[in-house]
């Protein structure tokens, strides 16, 4: 190559470098509708984030409310004057000029229901999704509520389904009185911090149902006329009597009278997390059990800690593909699953308990099986999902009582098909910071707790 040719190539190369660097200046801009859509979603998330985080501390009531709707009830929007006492037994008969939104059919008695009324039309997406929203609040309607606007949200749970909540629900008679309400919502944050709403809460036991009423006003200090208007609608709250829930029948295992050998599995692992969207972290999910009649389970109480990554190990149901560990409790049948129906794993085959020895390694690290210093509580059948980001490795401990065979290695996991009366799982960072604690029992109960740095999804 001649000197002239070499010189020409160097010139071309430096010019190419310059043009490549300058090329970024001619990139197009996003379309306006894309920008508007993204802004709307981000701002809505900011508005709801604080509220949802607070919900971690009150998982019990909230998650259970949503469950009743998503698990087959759907929502019905009725304009003023068209609601009826109907078959559901609970709900609002709308005042003139009011709108109501409620589950249209009777829910199973062990599942709660929710009803809403407003003196403004419900936003379209609330009419479709309002009752299915995890917090069961009509956010779009609330965030756009005008000063004269009033929204009343009521949830109903059979008192026998949550005896632990009886002390918070004093016996009252209809009509409920707004004068008995507190001017704040326990464990709830301001829905609209920039332009605060008036938020009132009233709890009662009526006709063997625990009733939670939340009243939202478009102004932080509603005057007598607004309070009277809300009272008139509250006067039209219908609370039918709760049926006696089905008797809980313990199935299989020890209930059969057979002698069943019990053993305890207690394993601790150190596991790498995965980068998702630029951040390393873990995801914890859990849900309560759902019975299928008196003899078995449709869905076992369940908790899992995984990496939340989209990839996963082959030959593993998607739900558990990225699991670091999972626990269940109760005796499964061939029909019993974990997680929701749209994303479920059969318990038989997957295992009632699993530990990812393919991803993690055994550890002697100490980790307490305790919810101390964490927030959370009992959760419903629809479950909760929590993410904890910013950790590259975690220590995971699982302790469970087994009725039947102990764990054995299979496809990268230690698993068991044994019935589990109770199981617990705890997660901390390698430096000792507690992240997650969950436990499940064969009564169907599940609890989930997380550090304040984690976020409910």
């Amino acid at each position: 190559m001649s000197c002239a040719e070499r010189s020409r190539r160097q010139t071309v190369s430096s010019e190419l470098d310059r043009l490549l660097r300058e090329g970024r200046n001619v990139l197009p801009e996003p379309h306006e509708e894309t920008t508007d859509r993204a802004r709307e979603r981000v701002l809505a998330a900011v508005g709801q984030r604080r509220l949802r985080r607070a919900r971690v501390a009150s998982l019990a009531g909230v998650a259970v409310v949503a469950a009743s709707v998503v698990l087959g009830l759907g929502a019905a929007s009725t304009p003023s004057g068209e609601a009826s006492k109907g078959p559901i037994g609970v709900g609002f008969l709308p005042e003139a000029g009011w709108y109501s939104l409620h589950a249209p059919t009777r829910a199973p008695s062990n599942r709660p229901q929710v009803a809403m009324a407003a003196n403004v039309p419900f936003a379209g997406e609330d009419a479709v999704h309002g009752l299915a929203e995890p917090s069961a609040l009509p956010y779009s309607t609330l965030t756009a509520l005008p000063p004269r606007g009033i929204v009343i949200v009521a949830s109903f749970v059979a008192a026998s389904a949550e005896p632990w909540a009886a002390s918070r629900h004093p016996k009252r008679r209809l009509p409920l009185r707004i004068a008995d309400a507190t001017p704040y919502i326990d464990s709830g944050t301001q829905v609209r911090p920039d332009d605060p709403l008036g938020q009132y809460q009233l709890r009662a036991t009526v006709n063997r149902r625990h009733v939670d009423v939340q009243v939202y006003f478009g102004t932080p200090r509603p005057g007598p006329a607004r309070l009277a208007a809300a009272q008139r609608q509250l006067d039209r709250l219908v609370v039918g009597s709760a049926r006696t829930p089905p008797v809980t029948v313990k199935v299989a295992g020890s209930s059969s009278g057979a002698i069943v050998s019990r053993s305890v599995v207690d394993r601790t692992l150190v596991c790498p997390t995965a980068m998702v969207g630029g951040l390393y972290g873990i995801e914890a999910r859990a849900h309560a059990g759902v019975r299928a009649g008196a003899a078995g389970w449709k869905q076992l109480p369940f908790a899992v800690v995984d990496t939340g990554n989209s990839g996963g190990r082959a030959n593993t149901p998607e739900l558990l593909a990225n699991a670091l560990a999972w626990i269940t409790a109760g005796a499964p049948s061939s029909e019993t699953s974990m997680e929701t129906e749209w994303r479920s794993a059969p318990v038989r085959g997957s295992g009632t308990l699993g530990l990812s020895v393919g991803t993690c390694r055994t550890s002697k690290a100490a980790i307490a099986l305790s919810s101390a210093d964490l927030t959370g509580g009992r959760i419903g059948p629809l479950g909760e999902r929590i993410t904890c980001e910013g950790v590259r490795h975690v220590v995971v401990r699982v302790r469970a009582t087994l009725e039947g065979p102990n764990v054995s290695a299979s496809r990268g996991f230690l698993r068991t098909q044994a019935t589990v009366p109770e199981a617990r799982i705890a997660v901390r960072t390698t430096k000792g910071k507690k992240l997650v604690y969950a436990d499940v029992r064969d009564s169907g109960a599940a609890r989930l707790f997380a550090a304040s740095s984690c976020e409910a999804r």
Partner: protein, 173 residues
């Protein structure tokens, strides 16, 4: 703004969004060369960034952090779509149709942008991350999960391909 957003101020969130949205979107578009993928990746990046503000170190600049998230989301989308081959939508050029003070220079830059868009995805992403998003080779290797040597050779081959394409075009090189 960030402390206000953490407290739940939607006005502050809107200001922060408006300040950085275009940067995030352009980063995503540069990587994907596809408006649809860029829309999704940039939106997810903004949601993730805002969702993780509580853990964001305020002593560090927000823009590069967001850009990194946008790039990662864009690469995730690109992998998911299995888009091995380019890229530029039929009805739309990779560059914006705006002419600056020096039209000749703009036309050259359009040609460069289009030549970059015509590269295979593997080479295009390396070029874009290095020249447009200012990532050093080591960091690109980390983002793509490739050895540094592979990144360097991809970049060299991409430049050879670009040089050939642009030398054929009038008045570019």
């Amino acid at each position: 703004l960030i402390p206000l957003v953490r407290k739940g101020s939607t006005a502050a969130a809107a200001a922060l969004f408006d300040r950085y949205w275009q940067h995030a979107w352009k980063a995503a578009y540069a990587v994907t060369a596809d408006r649809g993928l860029a829309d999704d990746a940039a939106q997810e990046a903004m949601e993730r960034a805002f969702g993780a503000l509580d853990r964001f170190d305020e002593t560090r600049p927000f823009g590069p952090w967001l850009k990194r998230i946008a790039v990662n989301r864009a690469i995730d989308h690109l992998r998911r779509q299995r888009r091995v081959e380019p890229v530029a939508e039929d009805h739309e050029a990779f560059h914006a149709w705006t002419i600056g003070d020096t039209a000749d220079e703009d036309i050259r830059l359009w040609a460069v942008a289009d030549a970059v868009a015509a590269l295979g995805a593997g080479r295009r992403v390396v070029v874009v991350l290095h020249y447009w998003l200012d990532l050093p080779l080591e960091e690109i290797a980390g983002v793509l999960g490739l050895p540094v040597g592979t990144v360097a050779s991809r970049l060299a081959r991409a430049k050879d391909e670009l040089r050939g394409a642009l030398e054929e075009a009038d008045r570019v090189l």
